[in-house]
Subunit: 463 residues, 2 copies
């Protein structure tokens, strides 16, 4: 039995323990955006520190940033000929609200059919745990055939505000030949895929104020403007009836899809019936002239993520609100930048906002869109690994999601990232009842093992 | 010294005690819309029951309704020749949020200059207390020259949902010659006025849903519609650039302002600089073709009182919300009805809402607009009473506010209401730092005394 087979057998024998470890991590509510959750963030970091030591990594450390810390560990004894892999993951999760829409406690994982339900199950504690299980399966058998560095971040859900500075400070520590980023998904449970494109993000808050304070709508309705109506008008006019975004110059930097890419996306086996079923929406909607999958992964979008104004509690309050606020996220595609779309948005507001209100625009976060090299050795190794486990040729595709770290890694460390994760598009990431498909958890562990062995020379595979 | 003078002297000697009693009542957070505040509503009702007994009323009782109870008391010993006055007031108040914008605790009244600041000070515990002080001044001196019934409601801020049924059940108990409604205001501290017109109200909640649950905006942005953007479009298009409401048929039932009324309103000494200063808005806005005061009191309006969708907390959450909700209030003028404007709104939504969402429309409350008889004996008596106290001829005007009970009283008891109250337009009713002008509190007490004596024959005035 060769080293790879030993590791695979070991991983299979550990499935129950692996599941229990995943449940342990899911129980920690590591919500990075709530400042009062800092102790729970440290608890999650501590759990991971212990786990990295347990699986045989060295120099394991909880390293400070300006925000939540980064957990790091490494194992560098595969020899200078062997490649060095940097694994990236994050241990923070999105808030769980609206809590009332969960069918179970978001931080008390339950298993329902083939799924495990909990906040962070798919995004991305499930993937982090799968990778660490794969490492353990190798370190507990024949040892790792590659040099490995593991970097687990606590601020991905915030747009990784301190990661670039961290990488700049620790360039030598993080130096590597390739980055494996597990924050990814495959197209369907039985359809393996590799992501070569990711959308970027520009996230804004727009605040509008009319009167200096809330007023009685009886006494002042008709006298001063209504900031919720003004903001509603501004937001509504940001797109036209065909779903096209109207901000001036918004599409100027968009790289058109090639014929080949459109053909690949057309082959993705997710038809409109699947999207309707997955979302539960009465109809699909998006930019005219593009297929659903194209709109989902390869075209830029503008969405209102939140809108708040006035009284929204139980019953009636006849108030003319002083203020209205909206959170607006734009998904960007190559070669758009957050700076340029912010200029578009600001120009639009300057031109359109009436003088009956004052307004403010703040960018809360951003990330560049990413297109990675499709013909590299790591991509080829991952294609073969996926084919071993699924018995089927994987598809090259894009994802609509944003993984800011991918562009940062390219910029700070000079390497491409291989997106190799096992979420599913309908995992309800960022939403109530987030889930992770357990068969993919186990297949993911095996895929990571195969990938590492495929990455090194055939010789070392037959130890 | 005649009876009237004795009562006035007594009232003047009681000013400090009157102020302390007002403060006591203001300390009770009688917010009718919060179901968990029921005990505080009962506390306020109990306080008033005791106060009615203290000032000499009989048959004082806390009377149940389907919602919050009504406090009732009477004194019927002025003889069958004397008129019977029904006083209406309410003891419930609006919620105090947003709490962070108050400069003091909303239910711990403070005196700042000439004003007392607290939730409910102007709307309308200040007015209720002023009337009860006037009654006490008379009962503690020569006795009341009129028969009096006092009805204090606990659900005015909810649109008086159970008052009509209560009046229908107790028609004999409430039978009267005229109703005095203290829930009113004068135009400026030194400009007494009587309100002959009130706007009506139709208050709606509109709920829009796209996906079945919140989605990740990365995975689904561009695929399904955004309910916040859909609702923003629907709301924004409810009015045009000139501030005119676009709902089909919305203006069909509006009674045009007469030349005389427009001249009276033009004489109201509130210029645009005053409205700008009072509201703190950068500019005024409203329906083109009408003056600011016309828009404030005599034209219908449509306002968003609240808008909620998605994530509006600290930081970023890249969610594509499933739902959006808005509370919309319309101020109506004669001869509009809530039923007809609801038809307009429903027709608009049916025509305009896209099939990418489902929607619901619910009417949360309504009240008919009111125009009262300007040449009646009670109006004449009130005009003279105001002239005594202010030394100046009062102005006949309209108010933009809604007092649903006025139309109910007309319908159920067959009498007109005299709007005689002492709030000010800039009292920040329903808003943070609500205030009541204390000089008007004391002048209000004396005005009520004069009014009662003016209402009865001159003979009885010279006891």
């Amino acid at each position: 039995m060769n080293a790879r087979e030993s590791a695979l057998l070991r991983a299979r024998s550990q499935r129950q323990a692996a599941l229990e470890r995943l449940q342990d991590l899911l129980r920690i509510p590591s919500i990075s955006t709530f400042s009062d959750h800092k102790p729970r963030m440290l608890e999650a970091a501590g759990w991971l520190q212990q786990r990295l030591e347990e699986i045989g990594l060295e120099a394991v450390e909880i390293m400070p940033t300006e925000g939540h810390p980064i957990v790091f560990g490494q194992w560098l004894h595969a020899g200078s000929e062997a490649p060095t892999v940097l694994y990236y993951g994050h241990y923070d999760v999105q808030p769980a609200d609206p809590l009332e829409l969960w069918t179970n406690e978001p931080f008390e994982p339950v298993i329902r059919g083939d799924d495990i339900l909990a906040r962070g199950a798919s995004d991305m504690k499930g993937q982090v745990c799968a990778f660490l299980e794969a490492v353990e399966a190798m370190t507990q058998t024949s040892g790792l055939p590659v040099n490995l560095k593991v970097m687990l971040e606590g601020e991905e859900e915030l747009g990784s505000p301190h990661l670039a500075a961290f990488m700049a400070r620790h360039k030598d520590l993080l130096a590597c030949d390739v980055c494996v980023n597990g924050d990814s998904a495959i197209l369907a449970p039985d359809l393996p895929s590799i992501v070569y494109g990711l959308r970027g993000l520009a996230y804004f808050e727009i605040r509008v104020q009319a009167a200096a304070q809330d007023l009685h709508s009886g006494g002042f309705g008709g006298v001063v403007d209504n900031p919720a109506l003004v903001l509603a008008r501004l937001l509504a006019d940001m797109r036209d009836e065909s779903g096209r975004i109207t901000l001036p110059g918004f599409y100027d930097d968009v790289r058109p899809l090639s014929v080949e890419e459109r053909a690949e996306l057309a082959a993705v086996p997710l038809d409109d019936a699947w999207w309707l079923k997955t979302t539960g929406a009465p109809a699909l909607f998006g930019e005219a002239g593009y297929s659903t999958i194209e709109r989902a992964v390869a075209r830029p979008t503008l969405d209102v993520c939140g809108f708040a104004s006035g009284f929204v509690g139980e019953g009636m309050k006849t108030v003319l609100p002083a203020r209205a606020m909206a959170k607006v996220s734009m998904r960007l595609v190559a070669d758009q930048t957050a700076e340029r779309v912010e200029e578009s948005l600001r120009a639009y507001l300057q031109e359109r906002a009436p003088d009956t209100v004052t307004w403010e625009l703040e960018r809360l976060g951003s990330a560049r869109p990413v297109i990675v090299e499709r013909d590299s050795a790591p991509v080829a190794a991952a294609m073969r690994a996926l084919q071993y486990v699924w018995g089927r040729k994987p598809v090259l595709t894009r994802l609509g999601y944003t993984v800011p770290v991918v562009s940062m890694v390219q910029e700070m460390l000079g390497v491409d990232s291989l997106m190799l994760g096992f979420g599913l598009t309908d995992d309800r990431q960022h939403a109530p009842d987030e889930k992770f498909h357990l068969p993919n958890f186990y297949r993911g562990i095996e895929t990571y093992i195969h990938f590492v062995y495929e990455l090194v020379a055939d010789a070392s595979d037959e130890a």
